[in-house]
Amino acid sequence: VPPVGSAGSNRLFVPERPLMPEWVKQARVHLGTQNSNGVSGTRSVPDGGTLVPPGIANENPSDGFAKLLFDEVRNVNQMQTTATNNVHSLLTGGDVNEAEVLTSVQKADLAFRMLLQVRNKLMDAYREIQQIQI
């Protein structure tokens, strides 16, 4: 899965705010809207201080929620591909059991709905944070 919104589309997200939860931050790092070197949270404020509590900058973005999310995207994609292939072989007279084919379709559907809900939750949280006034 290629990173969404690489260079040039940074306006997809507003600059980070201090109270952004860690998982949103990690997801943003993974989405390529920030540098992945871990210094994303250290944006300077006008008075020269940083907004990030110590410890956050050292976190590995490949672990945790972002990794979970992207692994899940891959899994769901895999399930959808399997389901499509199964349906194809069912419709073209392949030696497959229709119960198994329909179950794989249903599983792919459920997994996708789950992912969609997680994505919706993430976006809700993100919008909530976006509206925080300082």
Partner: protein, 139 residues
Amino acid sequence: MIRALDISTSALVAQRTRLNAVSGNIANISTLKNEKGEAVPYQPREVVFQTDEAITTSGASGVKVDEIKINESDPLYRHQPNHPLAIKEGKWKGYVAYPNIDLTTEMVNALESTRAYEANVGVMEITKNISRETLTILA
């Protein structure tokens, strides 16, 4: 949660196999020769199920077809001396060997297998619904 769907699917596949065996038995109810053309009446197939440990979730297991056993019981003999396949000598001289298939038993098996299939589809429906319901926690 999704593993529960797999368990139900394994049951669907197994019951489907059983139903296929019943179809074969009923289709061959008057088959007097085997696949090699010998005068051996068809012997009914019986499907044996086994728990499938490969499909397991929290103690529940799926089911798989262990083997399709051939019922070795004696054929039914009917006295038809003029039949081309009538037995020429011995105890059953003048008789024709027919498959030992009881249509009533086979129909009951088919019905039972259908009911089991329906029950498993019902369980899948429930599993599907609770999965969907669960997602609304997050929504």
